[in-house]
Amino acid sequence: MLEVKGLHKRYGDLVAVEEVSFTARPGEMVGLLGPNGAGKTTSVSMIAGLLKPDRGEVLIEGGLVRSETDDVKRRIGLVPQDIALHDELSARENLALFGALYSLRGKPLAAAMDAAFDVAGLTDRAQDKVATFSGGMKRRLNLAAALLHAPAILLLDEPTVGVDPQSRNQIFSNLEELKRQGKTLVYTTHYMEEAERLCDRIIIIDHGKVIANDSLAAVRRMVPSVNILEIGVENPGRDGWMGGLRTVAGVVAVEWDGAALSVTVKHLLEDSPAVLMWLHAHDYRCTHIASQRADLETVFLTLTGRSVRNA
């Protein structure tokens, strides 16, 4: 289990991380979400022992990292945001080096490397130089390198940046398997759809502060307008119809994009019938009706007032 307590980091006048606290349990994947510069990487760096916090502490399965060579560090696997591999060496030479950093040698090292190559789907490319790999293959090897010493906690700092869809799906499958194996995973990203697919719990960070920390469902419920009705209308456009719809009880917002009507309601089940009845009463013919939940992007927008990708 990973316990992060009141982490604080300041660079001059800039507060990079302010009182960040959370817990990640075995078999749980926690997503640290936020735009670039929000403090995600700084937080992960402090958790991994790369940066010394000004305040706060990190407990790795109950233990503090007290020195450079503390055994507690063996329980953490770090997947850095940059590709942390030597291009000039073969994939096997890279893994042999990283395994040796954790005192792996001989048969245990060979077995760990074989397993890591299997996870990354790179067994047949093990002897090739990393320079010949595609971006996606490098990302998979980057992940594999962090698994060699079988850490209990895996810190993944934006592990899918610049990855093709095929490699991304493979990485997702790997992470889901690791979660099933009982590993604790902390996943930083600014791709909301990744967090929605993978994470059990979401921590949203902005300007170094945690502004949300809950399960995915609970975080979604933090947004007032959680439901949007999409309605295809065959005969739109009579004067005042948008204004009329807005008067319907429970309707928060109405938009028309020329093909479909988006009606945001407070409560899907309670408020949708009134919207449909109003359209029927005013002779609008509906071609289809669909509903969608607010996504994390909407949550972030609502909580911070800005889009995560434009922040």
């Binding site: 790369l50 850095p80 590709i83 000039e88 060496l89 950093l101």
Partner: protein, 434 residues
């Protein structure tokens, strides 16, 4: 310190170094090529290479027997390439760098020089027009000219065709001279008469007594026997030995800088984070880096001196153990110097230029480019404060001066001391965090 991690990091550094063609070229090929070039310039193998002649123009405006004799004598000098020119042409050739020195013998030089030999006054001038970028050659030409002029003037004054005239004029000068004591006047007159009598001998007798061109002529009163003192008698100096030592030191230091740059570059990458996240101590990190750089430095020295041995016959005339000791001590010094660069530098871009400048100064003060004896006295003493001086002196001493192990202890000790100081500062200033 984890031995497994240490070994893996050293192995990685060596693999990366030997896969880097640029690094290998700079470290192995460059010292061999440049060392060979400088060695050739400074004498080559056994110093048996013919030195290039100094180009001299003779401008004989006098045309006297003496001036002709001077020019002829200069022309036979093996170190000079003499050609006769007019004054304007000679000046233009010197200005254009085609001729190094032009010796202008003015009209009336012969008569005035012969008279000045006896009187010591009214000396004629020989004008030397010289290329200012060839100062040392000017000094050489001046010395040679003095020798040839003395021989020509004295020969002509005492035994040449005008000898009687010069003696008669001198006798009259002595008779007219005021303020001279009577006894001095008699002695000088007697000496001039004796020279005249000697010149009046029968030609055959003169030929019989005169063996060689210098009969009756002032000539150099000594001959020089030279011996290059090397490791022992019979061992010729091979200038490749010094040039290879100097270039080896220079390019190994460059390799040390590169080793430091690699650390600075790694700091910017995820590799550094991965290292830092692992239970790897700073001692493992710093020590492995130093060890790999020292191994590379040792390999470079052995390969470069091996090449010098096979191709140019540069032998280790001194203690082999001492030679290996100096190589090892210098390798460690270089490795710690690289570490120092890596911990004191902020970014590779900002550090590289300064590090190269510092290295070039170290190399220059160490005597890698020009021997330290050419430095002013104070600088010769001051240069012992830089490690390269100890390295170059140590390698010179063991390769061709024939130093024993005991003499090698001083450079070994000095280099190890520098390595210890650099290493201690590097470990003290090492920070995982950027």
């Amino acid at each position: 310190m984890s031995y497994t991690a240490f070994q893996a990091l050293v192995k990685r550094d060596l693999r990366l170094f030997f896969q880097d063609r640029r690094a290998v070229t700079m470290s192995f090929v460059a010292p061999i090529v440049i060392g060979s070039f400088f060695g050739y310039l400074f004498g080559g193998v056994n110093n048996d290479r013919e030195m290039s002649k100094i180009k001299v123009a003779s401008v004989d405006q006098d045309g006297s027997a003496i001036s002709k004799r001077v020019v002829a004598s200069l022309t036979t000098d093996k170190t000079l390439d003499v050609s006769a020119r007019g004054l304007d042409e000679a000046r233009e050739l010197v200005r254009g760098g085609k001729i190094t020195v032009a010796a202008v013998i003015p009209k009336g030089f012969g008569d005035e020089a012969a008279r000045a030999l006896f009187r010591g006054t009214n000396k004629p001038q020989i004008e030397l027009l010289y290329d200012p970028s060839h100062g040392p050659e000017l000094q050489m030409v001046r010395g040679m000219l003095m020798q040839h002029v003395m021989e020509a003037v004295s020969g002509e004054a005492f035994s040449g065709t005008g000898a009687r005239r010069y003696l008669d004029e001198s006798r009259k000068e002595v008779a007219r001279a005021t303020g001279m004591s009577e006894s001095d006047r008699k002695s000088l007159s007697k000496m001039l008469d004796s020279i005249g009598d000697w010149n009046q001998r029968p030609t055959a007798a003169t030929a019989g007594a005169s063996t060689g061109a210098t009969a009756g002529v002032f000539s150099m009163p000594y001959e020089v026997k030279e011996e290059a003192v090397t490791a022992r008698k019979g061992v010729a100096y091979n200038s490749m030995a010094h040039s290879f030592a100097g270039m080896c030191v220079q390019f190994i230091l460059f390799m040390g800088i590169d080793a430091g740059m690699v650390v600075l570059q790694q700091r910017r990458t995820g590799l550094w984070k991965r290292l830092q996240a692992s239970p790897t101590s700073r001692w493992t990190m710093v020590g492995s880096r130093a060890a790999s750089a020292a191994i590379v430095a040792m390999i470079i020295m052995l390969v470069v001196f091996g090449f010098a041995r096979v191709v140019f016959g540069v032998k280790i005339e001194g203690s082999y153990a001492g030679f290996l000791g100096v190589c090892l001590a210098f390798a460690l010094m270089t490795a710690t110097f690289g570490l120092l660069v890596s911990v004191l530098g902020k970014t590779p871009e900002a550090t590289r230029g300064i590090a190269i400048l510092v290295t070039l100064i170290l190399v220059m003060l160490g005597g890698s480019w020009v021997p330290a004896f050419l430095f002013p006295q104070w600088l010769q003493q001051a240069s012992f404060a830089v490690p390269t001086r100890w390295a170059v002196d140590g390698l010179d001493g063991l390769v061709w001066r024939g130093w024993g192990m005991q003499e090698a202890l001083a450079p070994i000790g000095a280099l190890l001391m520098f390595a210890a100081v650099f290493g201690a500062i590097a470990a003290w200033r090492f920070r995982w965090e950027s």
